[in-house]
Symmetry: C2
Subunit: 226 residues, 2 copies
DNA sequence: GTTTAATAGATTGCGTACAATTTTTTAAGA
DNA sequence: TCTTAAAAAATTGTACGCAATCTATTAAAC
């Protein structure tokens, strides 16, 4: 979130904030002060304001009138709704990717798996979380339906947020090879297997959450800039 | 779109513009000049600008850098993607509504059907189109999943836009009783029938579009304020 | 008459300033 | 010491103004 030399468009600002949320650098509930962001990005508040309305529409940020913008703290019910939506949509994504992915698309998937492996190897936990989300965004992009792609581009960052709030602290970042298995099934055009693996993967993530317990209350200031 | 006395929030401005699009008062491709809108709504351009970025994120408006905002002209491919998405999502909506709708919810549905009938009786074509879209938004709201509700709140106005672009001119507004039949099946907790009727309804709408022909090119200035 | 260039006009992009509101700090009272 | 009240500081909401850009008009050249 450092100041940059080139002028940033509001979408880019929103994207940078989204990345920070996905990497758990901006924890749920934290206040996003406009002036601070303006300073950090080297633009005026006007642009920050537009980026924040964008993120609010996206659902990643909550706007309290006269009180400011806060990174969303999804409720347990929202978390359940989110996974229900993903269970509905992602099998369709898998179907479409199998039906229309070309070699280049498959190559991109492999390249992404490589990045994930690398992040795991170097123990870069933040990057692992973000890349795990972005794997599903990439799949959605390859499915060739702009509406579903856009939906997943909203649901994945929110999923990262939910993990930040409800994940058991000792849980390992993400199952090592579930993404690879899905890609493998896609390559083999094994629709049934790919869907089964996808649903298993989603249920796996959701099951490790503690949605019945109270969400983590306060912000971990110590590790915020760790 | 007349000037109002109370101060409008940007969401309200966006909603008013959305309604105008749904009623085909703002046709696809028309330019939305910031100053004009600011005058019409009695606010400064700053707020209009935020409303437009919101609508652009929603997909109802296209933003051309330095050239302004235009009501979107969805391509045939986007139209097909939209209906594919609706065919995926709306059966799930029907399932959820059947599972969890209370009497009050059913009453709201009947109330809406009444409004539609009234609009049909008075021949208010604009209102019919908007209400037809809003029926699906209401169903989505009753399904109890915030993400699906939000998705449908974007897809329905876009559907109106697609109808404006690709509908055969002589087509009657909307099949008279398909909405009522869906509500009836929901009331009877007949999931299979409700889903079948919903899919039939969607296919009916899509089939009446001329997605293979070139979209209507220019704006009907004569009927714009009719 | 058509094309090209130059000018004038309109519109968008964005920073800034100020009012309205909230939050924090300080002080007084119980 | 804990409440409550008042003042100060910080932050948001919004309009305004100017620079940058695009569009339309006019004039010139061919």
């Amino acid at each position: 979130m450092e100041a940059s030399t080139t002028k940033l468009a509001i979408e880019q600002i929103a994207e940078r904030i989204t990345d920070a949320v996905m990497e758990h650098r901006l924890p749920p509930g934290i206040k996003l002060v406009e002036e601070k962001l303006a300073g950090a990005f080297g633009v005026s508040r006007t642009k920050i304001r537009q980026a924040l309305t964008l993120l609010a529409k996206e659902g990643l940020v909550t706007l309290h009138p006269n009180r400011g913008a806060f990174v969303k703290r999804p409720s347990a019910e929202e978390a359940r709704d989110l996974f229900a939506t993903r269970r509905l949509v992602e099998p369709e994504i898998v179907r479409n990717v199998i039906a229309r992915a070309c070699e280049q698309d498959i190559a991109r998937l492999h390249q992404h798996l490589e990045e994930e492996a690398q992040a795991r190897a170097t123990g870069d936990r933040r990057r692992i979380i973000r890349l795990s989300g972005q794997f599903h965004m990439l799949l959605a992009a390859l499915a060739g339906n702009a509406f579903i792609e856009k939906l997943m581009a909203e649901l994945c960052p929110l999923t990262c947020l939910i993990i930040a709030l409800y994940d058991a602290p000792q849980t390992p970042a993400c199952p090592e090879d579930e993404h690879s298995q899905i890609v493998e099934a896609i390559e083999n055009h094994d629709e049934a297997a790919a869907i089964r693996l996808m649903l298993h993967h989603l249920e796996h993530i959701e099951s490790e959450l503690m949605l019945d317990a109270a969400p983590k209350l306060d912000i971990h200031w110590e590790t915020l800039y760790g």
